[in-house]
Point group: C2
Chain length 296, copies 2
């Protein structure tokens, strides 16, 4: 990983951990278990791709770092809640996440359901704190962007399409749509929220949206390749799951070589969309390349 | 039930059903199952106590009816998601809700988890729609109020205290705290949101907050009495659960007679807090009395 990008990742990982630590003091009553579970899920794990997208985009427009980190934490809280619920026995039934036991394994299923729900609420709580933005227009638009991207018209809708994919024979168009919702919507929201914080009007977000769309698809193609070719120890989660479930993925539909070429094309294209930002967008451009090269 | 109150309930039930119908068109793809499950949970069921609290409070300040109904739908979406997740096998494992099979019985557990999550997101989506308020200050404050009331510092925090109550021997102070969070926080948020829509500054909300606190406790005492004395057919859900689980409730800690007297005192007191609003607050006063007399 280029030094510029690895420095940016390290900084955002440190800042996000510190922010969650401050957002989540453990109460001195029987809710302690719940808040400890929430902390387990959001502190000290995950690559923080989404917060980095928020921060790197916000930086293009000179946004205050603390505000960008707070908004990044909100997206990450949504991402974390979705992983907790996904890992439940009634969903994907996973035991390992980010190389650690999943939350319902460490605590129990009821605590996992609740901790997920609380992280979901925390995301919107964070976005409406005056520290995130002193401008209520911005706060309201951040909430609207994240709520739309995470609900049935976004991430969770894609989840549902994924769940029923065992029964349906999706073609490439449908798999693309599924992934645009399941993974792409939240990645796109991260970039969008950076622009919202920077008070960029919608008509000024065209290049950023194109970038986000391309890396969203590239991210998922890379994930499908990782599922087939990856190393479980490095990935920190169970792999070879798609094949076992007979799911259609970019890899089953395109083959590995074409999938890899498509991901590379998307990443190059993503970088080109940011040409007008010049060197300022270097972290975002490098992040696009990282997305397809990552081994976890 | 007095005619004024029953008319108000009927109107809000009709308006909330119509609003959810408009918020949730069924998509023409494999997300249809998810949206149908969401509709099952929020259309044509429930008393709509929370939306009525929003609407009746908002009406005190001349708020547009559609705006109040939208905010009421947001609170109801949070309430509905919490019931769906509560009813899951890993939580309370209930088969019946509002006299209908619970969502995971009609669909499946994975769909129930996701439909709950999507209603959670929908709540915040609704609050940031310009139709709910043209004032971004109001939109942001509505979100802040609802997010805080429903997360680990509110409803879900109370849920957690309830779950661990099997292992803990709570005293009256602790049960009161638990119920203030689990049930009271969302009822209080409903009243608060009516005031937010009415642009009442925080210092002008003292009486309304006192009213909400009193009916919140009265509501839960009545629920505990209903669990002991109620008719399952009328309640539309399983009863006699507290006793079976050996839980401390207002009834086990105070006895039925004292609990009933306490609820009545709270309801009278709740009405007195609204004295300065005169006849305009009649629906809210009658709603307080209904809360302890209801049989479901």
């Amino acid at each position: 990983m280029p030094e510029l990008l690895s420095d940016a990742f390290e900084q955002v990982q440190r800042d996000v951990d510190a922010a969650f630590d401050a957002f989540l003091p453990v109460p001195q009553d029987t809710r302690a278990r719940l808040v400890e579970a929430m902390r387990y899920a959001v502190i000290g794990g995950g690559k923080r791709v989404r917060p980095l997208l928020v921060c790197a985009t916000a930086k293009l427009f000179g946004v205050d770092r603390d505000a960008a980190v707070a908004a990044g934490c909100a997206v990450e809280a949504i991402h974390a809640y979705s992983l907790i619920h996904d890992d439940l026995p009634c969903m994907d039934d996973d035991d390992l996440r980010h190389g650690k036991p999943t939350l319902h394994k460490v605590y129990d299923e009821a605590t996992a359901v609740l901790a997920g729900d609380c992280l979901h609420a925390l995301a919107f709580d964070i976005l409406t704190m005056p520290g995130t933005s002193s401008d209520p227009f911005v706060r309201a638009e951040l909430v609207a962007t994240l709520a739309r991207a995470s609900g049935h018209e976004g991430m969770a809708g894609g989840q549902m399409m994924d769940i029923v994919s065992d029964e349906e024979e999706y073609d490439l168009r449908q798999v693309t749509r599924l992934q645009q919702l399941k993974t792409g919507a939240l990645l796109a929201a991260s970039v969008e929220m950076g622009a919202v914080l920077g008070k960029v009007p919608p008509e000024g977000r065209t290049h950023l949206r194109a970038y986000a769309r391309d890396i969203g698809l590239a991210f998922q193609i890379a994930d499908d390749l990782l599922d087939v070719e990856g190393d479980e120890a490095k990935a920190g989660k169970a792999l070879r799951k798609d094949e076992g479930q007979g799911k259609q993925t970019f890899v089953t539909l395109m083959g590995r070589d074409k999938a890899r070429a498509q991901a590379k094309m998307l990443v190059d294209q993503a970088g080109e969309h940011l040409a007008s930002y010049g060197n300022d967008a270097q972290v975002l451009v490098e992040l696009a390349h990282f997305v397809v090269k990552r081994d976890h």
